[in-house]
Symmetry: C2
Subunit: 309 residues, 2 copies
């Protein structure tokens, strides 16, 4: 009985070590070096090649190596009857909170201007807006979104949240559903997208959405590249309606060399590093879910294939 | 009876408006346009010309326009018997917390590398250290330092504090006095200076201090320029012992054009914008202290001239 890690072309030795630290009796193998596919009961995967999940006849659970599961849902060869789970660990939530906090503060505190000034040898203090006057709009209030909201409100930001279904989030001014999207957006001086990627949210960061934001709003997308209509963002920034954007995710990754985001002065890009799963903090839930799967118990962080997350 | 604002070459109309919003009966004049110096009871000043404070025979209180008071203590012509006060407002503390949080996250999340990568069209994810493994060392645990420490610990950082005299700060691992400076520094992967500038702290950010930091430590100085020995920082960064620095304050401001900090690849400078007093949030304490001064009551945020803060 074994766990297989499928993460092509990546060094996963930290994962193997972290899993064995929690349970030294585990057999952990790294694809494609699988000694006996018939013994694999649990697969931990990211960017797996299509079809590979059919190689394991006794699979009891498939786990994403991150919070996202689109790579699994989009694979038509993914066995439909095997439960899917995803990782929700504090390291991942914290890493996202750091990225969002950093992006917001860089924008508010005029970091790009100061970098240019330093290059030019200019000393020009810029005004600082009081944090109480800045509305942060958070799209997506799941496990990660609520954690990020909590860190932002503790720091002093006014946070407005938008989710598909009504929910209460402590300290957050919540809006739910398509009907309330416009009212939500009108408050978002800084719009942060942390949504899962579903049929409903695909392309949600588009020209219509941008028009409903306050003038000079700023966008941070740390969810999935397909949430964003790239051309609509370029038009909104170039027209001056949006002041800029920070993007961590793209429709094609790595972002193709010729893409206009690379050289745009008001668009900052990072190579999908916002929310990084840390094997040391995430391994425990994998080990626990492995034992639950083998024993037929209820799994944690189970994915609803219809909802898409 | 009036308040005089002395802030050469700056537009202080927001200050005048904010003071009058709290008390419309106030007379507020802006130096050098003072109709009758004999009627001035309260001076609010920053970067005042030496000697000017002697022009007001009926002064009851001198207030700094910020948290720092060195401009007053260093002016030998500042009337010795008039009480000094400084501003301690939430806007100022919050502004400092934002700057420190931003500086720490930019360093941890490798912002300078990603900016270079974007310029070069490179997509290279860098490892992210878990926040729990990063020690932030905070020099100076007064009003501002304690507020910053509180925001950092709430966000997840492990904070070590150093102060002149022993004190307890919730959630912070405190060290006090010269004897414990070495033990404090050994924990500071990121050293943040928020000290008042006194005879004891002048030049405290020097080669000896840097040697006691962990290898590849990072420095953030948002206190006063004279805390830092510039040449020692350059040597420590160039040797690779320190990984870099973020500096907001300098011995001479604006930083002279020929200073090596401007062009150093691993030193980031900002034009003294870390902690900005916001007239809207700070005006109330000025109005309250004005009335206390006129009525001979105990002043808030009084400066001890011997201690230097």
């Amino acid at each position: 009985m074994s766990i297989a890690i499928i993460y092509p072309n990546r060094d996963v030795s930290a994962w193997v070590a972290a899993l064995k630290a929690h349970d030294p009796t585990l057999t952990v193998e790294v694809w494609p070096e699988i000694s006996d596919p018939g013994r694999v009961e649990y697969v931990l995967c990211w960017n797996h090649p299509e079809g590979v999940l059919q190689d394991f006849p006794h699979l009891k659970c498939i786990s994403s190596l991150g919070a996202g599961v689109n790579h699994l849902l989009n694979d038509a060869t993914c066995p439909p009857d095997i439960p899917l789970v995803r990782l929700v660990d504090t390291g991942l939530k914290q890493s996202m909170a750091e990225y969002v906090m950093l992006g917001i503060l860089e924008h508010l505190r005029r970091v790009p201007e100061y970098r240019l000034q330093q290059q030019r040898g200019e000393w020009i203090p810029q005004p600082v807006p009081p944090i109480s006057t800045v509305g942060v709009g958070l799209m997506g209030c799941g496990e990660i979104g609520r954690y990020v909201a909590d860190k932002l409100t503790a720091f002093g930001f006014t946070v407005h949240g938008w989710s598909r279904r009504p929910q209460q989030v402590l300290g957050v001014n919540m809006f739910a559903g398509q009907d309330r999207l416009g009212a939500f957006l009108a408050n978002a001086d800084i719009l942060v997208c942390l949504l899962p990627l579903t049929a409903e949210t695909h392309g949600i960061l588009n020209a219509k959405t941008f028009r409903r934001l306050p003038r000079r709003a700023y966008l941070i997308n740390a969810a999935r590249g397909a949430h964003l209509v790239d051309a609509d963002l370029l038009a909104a920034v170039d027209s001056g309606h949006l002041s800029g954007a920070l993007l961590d995710v793209f429709r094609e990754e790595p972002l193709p060399k010729e893409h206009p985001f690379w050289a745009h002065a008001r668009i900052t890009i990072t190579p999908h590093i916002a929310s990084v799963t840390n094997p040391r903090s995430a391994a425990l839930q994998v080990v626990e879910n492995y034992h639950r799967a083998v024993q037929g118990q209820r799994l944690s962080n189970r994915v609803d294939r219809l909802q898409g997350y």
